[in-house]
């Protein structure tokens, strides 16, 4: 066997050292992404929902949502006279498709502002209407929901 003095290895150590630094940086970014996903910043977790409202009503809604995935809205009215009226604006309809409502609305009608749903509620005390929606696509959706005349301005980031 012939002695090996120069195996003519075309090593670019300078590039490799730079790449290792980039690689470690990328691992750090992926770790942050993983942590963000764990706390719900990529949708479907702890920080992906928020509650707005006052003492009379509240809306739990998704602030971060993935496109083509389903999410829930919960509208709770504290005082009601056996029924409640929820009004969704056009921006809501453009960004979300309602796939289910519980309880089912007793009636619905279109308005110049959007669409309204009337719900019959039984018993005294707080009642909750659950609405399941599917996001249309990537967007930062700014929309409004009016519950018995009280308006909530909401914003949801829909991820690709």
């Amino acid at each position: 066997m012939t002695p090996v003095d120069d195996p003519n290895i075309r090593e670019d150590r300078l590039f490799q050292q730079g790449f290792w630094r980039v690689q470690r940086g990328a691992w750090l970014v992926l770790t942050f992404f993983l942590v963000a996903a764990l706390v719900g910043l990529t949708g479907g977790g702890w920080l992906s929902q928020r509650i707005v409202g006052d003492q009379m009503f509240s809306i739990r809604y998704p602030v971060i949502l993935r496109g083509k995935s389903e999410a829930g809205f919960e509208v709770t009215v504290v005082e009601h006279a056996g029924r409640t009226l929820l009004h969704f604006d056009e921006a809501f309809r453009e960004n979300f498709a309602i796939t289910a409502m519980s309880p089912a609305p007793s009636s619905s009608f279109a308005t110049s502002w959007g669409v309204a749903y009337k719900f019959d509620l039984s018993g005294a005390g707080p009642a909750t209407v659950r609405i399941t929606v599917e996001a249309a696509g990537p967007a930062i959706a700014n929309y409004s929901i009016v519950a018995d005349g009280r308006m909530a301005l909401l914003s949801t980031m829909v991820l690709p």
């Binding site: 195996p7 075309r10 090593e11 670019d12 150590r13 490799q16 690689q23």
Partner: protein, 150 residues
């Protein structure tokens, strides 16, 4: 249009992720690596295909992936920097019989990995019998034995 963009996005994202995961995941594949590859393939399938399960969509996807691959192989042969970014560069792990421990640590290659390659390629049993160990761009570890005494 959307199918082509989707295929390109997934292709380059997976390419980048595979590159930054390090070369060891391609070579010396363990059971864990094999499971990882299977899961990545299964996970990316939905993102690649989307809601369209038609034959046309599948053909557009395959055509996009094949043409991108061919284009990249041409680009690599014409521009050295593209080859460097996509394939990387060989890394010397052992030079003139001396281990380059910093490079081994960075490349996540152990002495046992080098010895395993030495046994497989040349039937060598000891580190002293190795002159050069090189982590190739393919992920394999090449072993050059010490010259034999006359």
């Amino acid at each position: 249009m959307e199918t082509v963009l989707r295929a390109l996005a997934i292709y380059f994202a997976l390419l980048a992720l595979t590159r930054i995961s390090g070369r060891r995941t391609l070579s010396q594949i363990t059971v864990f690596d094999f499971v990882l590859v299977l899961l990545i393939a299964e996970t990316s399938q939905n993102a690649l295909v989307g809601d369209d399960g038609s034959i046309t969509n599948a053909l557009v996807l395959v055509a996009t992936l094949v043409i991108t691959d061919v284009f990249l192989s041409y680009a690599k042969s014409h521009a050295h920097w593209i080859a460097l970014i996509i394939d990387g560069t060989p890394t010397v792990l052992m030079r003139h019989g001396i281990l380059e421990t910093a490079a081994m640590l960075r490349a996540r290659v152990s002495v046992e990995d080098i010895l395993q390659s030495a046994r497989t390629q040349h039937g060598l049993m000891r580190l002293e019998e190795i002159s050069y160990a090189v982590l190739e761009t393919s992920g394999n570890i090449s072993i050059v034995p010490q010259p034999k005494e006359q």
